[in-house]
Symmetry: C2
Subunit: 271 residues, 2 copies
């Protein structure tokens, strides 16, 4: 998908909501578990109920891999369903991959060709040649982890570097901007780190940020918007658990749509 | 697998060779491609021909994911085959995963339960709570990326930190040693980085190092052994392409065994 098409969708729907499709058996409506392909069934009902309120869907691979072959099938069914029925939605494989060049090329093939995702999340630790193979695909995007929403982000991402007197996450953003096809890069910046979004925006005023951590993890939508919005919106704010598991009764999809609507309404007020 | 069992195998076989099972269609013997389950067939013949020369097998997930459902099936068949026929071999899922705690738990389930691997490689960028869920499994191991073998390792891993006046890769090793169940940690240190193995050994004299980069990537086995061996050997040296693709004729498995034997013989001379 072209970035312009994503921006257009955001303006049309007055929403920059991304819904994380993280199917967790322990939290799903019990009545669904009897279905043969219950993971896909859950996703399908969530997607059908929420598609008009969001612009992106983000399956996290771990929740599929935990179910082995069945999980992989459900992931494939989900991306096929999205591509066919809602092709205007931006799709994100939240896979946090990254390996030596030869191997990253294989991962790119897996997510951009075998599964037709628009984008994939990537861990930056292995540097340039682990990321560039993902950036060779036209109209595909690579979302680099910069500042994550979890407590462990404090361990390394905030270390100050002697070379440039910046923090590691700033160094990651700065350096990655020099890589080939860097215009296909977006960045993960956690909603729990709002005090640092200004610093991020100084380095990349134009890039899209994927912002997890609103909802269950405690990040503030208002704060993220205050520091993160740019002239093209430039934000995709993700919510997973807060929407998916609003109810585990028969009406779970309606309940999810209500939660999504509440977020979309707030978003509209910030545009 | 218990570390003691791995060490015993190494001493018995006089080998600390790990064979990377990275099936690449472009390099595989063409006659195999007609087979229904050709990825597994390739792996099976390689394993049968080399098992007495190595102590570990390491499938890199990218090479399976690139083939979608068929690839996943081949991976599952491979780990089942290893678990059943060669249970004395240490198995490594080279997956380079890592996510927020809730999600890392799912990945651990995927690799330690759904697929019964002994260990998994993990990227450290997201810190403590992204790694600890993998460390809660008894007799399972987590192999953290410290210093990788690729050119991109120069981008971030060598940055000097103001806080501790050490390089990022040293900081990763040092900090991770304070995490819960750190005795289940091993580390990836590339064979192309031999001048830094001494620094690594100062911090973790006892830990196992998984060393990729000998062979196709140009690392020296002799140099790695000089600085990396410890009283329990403490090394798993990986070769993938150099062994797998020694020939793409009918005799590919024999040719692979010859290459593996040459490495094992060298290893024996260093023990």
């Amino acid at each position: 998908m072209k970035i312009q098409d994503l921006i257009q969708q955001i303006k049309l729907k007055k929403s920059f909501l991304c819904i994380g499709l993280d199917p967790d058996v322990d939290k799903m409506p019990p009545h669904l578990l009897k279905s043969n392909n219950f993971i896909f069934e859950f996703n399908k009902q969530i997607i059908d109920a929420t598609h008009h309120l969001c612009v992106a869907y983000k399956p996290n691979l771990a929740f599929y891999e935990a179910h082995g072959l069945e999980g992989y099938k459900a992931l494939k069914d989900t991306i096929l369903y999205l591509n066919e029925k809602y092709p205007e939605h931006f799709t994100i494989a939240d896979a946090k991959r990254g390996d030596i060049g030869n191997t990253s090329k294989m991962y790119a093939k897996a997510f951009f060709e075998e599964l037709n995702f628009d984008s994939i999340t990537i861990a930056p630790y292995m540097g340039k040649d682990s990321v560039e193979p993902f950036l060779t695909f036209k109209n595909k995007h690579c979302i680099l982890l910069a500042l994550t929403s979890n407590a462990g982000s404090k361990d390394f991402q905030f270390l100050n570097t002697e070379e440039t007197k910046t923090k590691l996450f700033e160094e990651v953003i700065q350096t990655s901007q020099t890589w080939q096809n860097a215009d296909r890069l977006m960045y993960v910046v956690g909603a729990t780190q709002t005090e640092h979004i200004q610093a991020v925006r100084k380095i990349i005023p134009e890039s899209f940020l994927l912002v997890p951590g609103v909802g269950a993890q405690g990040g503030s939508l208002e704060e993220v918007c205050k520091y993160g919005l740019n002239k093209n919106i430039g934000l995709l704010i993700n919510s997973s658990r807060g929407i998916l598991y609003a109810s585990n009764e028969l009406n779970f999809a309606e309940a999810a749509a209500e939660k999504a609507l509440a977020i979309q309404t707030k978003m509209e007020s910030f545009l």
